[in-house]
Point group: C2
Chain length 221, copies 2
């Protein structure tokens, strides 16, 4: 996992710089607070139509960012899942939640924290148009599906399906928003994240999540 995971991406170096600059700007100023021209400027262009030229539109740019980041994350999930299933056919809940969260958390350490992807996802998921664009563009990896199934196998019996589904939703939101918050705090200098501090935070998040997933459900009329 030391090689660059962004190879086969059909992004010219110019387009790549736009993607990276856009990520930064959006994390800082909000997806609706950033203009195409601003992105082009930040990417070192005098050409104010660079975004339009490379991606057709601002939406196209966002889709490119998603595509650029989602692939390696899913890829990492596949690798980790395969390794895990070789060890134990019935992985623990801990291992499964770890598998969901870790590849996202890893983004925070990528290239001295220059990936602001988590902040972007959190913003995309928060509102109408962008949420739909994201859901349309993330390719659900087979790993994630398999993880869901393994998790359901351990929980679905003990909980009413309505409750189980809701808790899985809570889990998904919590993972993304929590890690996104770490990202934002880190980039405001209010949180120092290195491997070890990320590790205990991640561990704690997983423990919290498992506590939540497996909590007793008391039916109250």
């Amino acid at each position: 996992m030391t090689t660059d995971q962004h190879d086969n991406l059909s992004l010219s170096s110019g387009a790549l710089q736009l993607v990276l600059s856009a990520e930064q700007l959006i994390a800082d100023k909000g997806i609706d607070g950033v203009s195409s021209r601003e992105v082009a400027r930040a990417a070192g262009h005098k050409n104010h139509s660079a975004v339009n030229y490379n991606f057709g539109s601002f939406d196209g740019l966002i889709e490119a960012i998603i595509d650029y980041r989602v692939r390696p994350i899913n890829q990492q999930r596949e690798v980790l899942l395969t390794a895990l299933l070789e060890q134990q056919q019935q992985p623990t809940l801990y291992a499964l939640v770890d598998l969901m969260a870790r590849p996202l958390a890893s983004e925070l350490l990528r290239g001295n924290g220059e990936s602001r992807y988590l902040s972007l996802i959190a913003q995309l998921l928060s509102r109408g148009h962008w949420r739909e664009l994201f859901l349309r563009n993330r390719s659900r990896s087979s790993a994630l599906i398999k993880i869901s199934e393994l998790m359901a196998a351990q929980l679905a019996d003990t909980l009413p399906s309505e409750i189980y589904n809701e808790r899985v939703r809570l889990l998904g939101s919590q993972i993304i928003y929590s890690i996104a918050e770490w990202d934002n705090l880190q980039h405001k200098g209010q949180l120092a994240l290195d491997e070890s501090s990320l590790e205990w935070r991640l561990q704690n998040l997983i423990e919290y999540a498992i506590g939540g997933l497996t909590a007793n459900h008391n039916k109250r009329n």
Copy 2:
């Protein structure tokens, strides 16, 4: 609690309409995707400077929204806490988390769901400038402080303080982002929220949160 909780607010009816329209627009289009002029238009003004006239600036408008919504929420917390402490001096964790979440969740039912305040908070908390503006303007209610203390009394012993603090942060984020998500889904017609469906979701959220807060913490090297 049937009387209007927005009395002593020093908002003229014109200003109030601006606040309400702004809330709606921001929930739909994002805080950075809405202009002062647009808010004025949506509030029925031909006067495109209405926001500037009433609040001085867009930031002033946001502060007015926060002020308008935070008061009754804190007020409700005070009332509920007082009632709770009359029943039992050492309230359960369940009651305490309930106390944190319920006044926020209630917003979703207010006036046929016309308060989009949760969506706003979630957006404000997500990014730089707005986060700071929010933190500057929410007046921390004495109830919330008391709730924190009561919670700490039950948990701080069993967990390392670093872990405890992090879990409280997780709790806070989860409450706000989850309820905000209900808000967004509700207003896209993807979630039907009445009192009873809100109730079981809230109950489940609390159960999840308590499971998380009290989860075992395993020190790993």
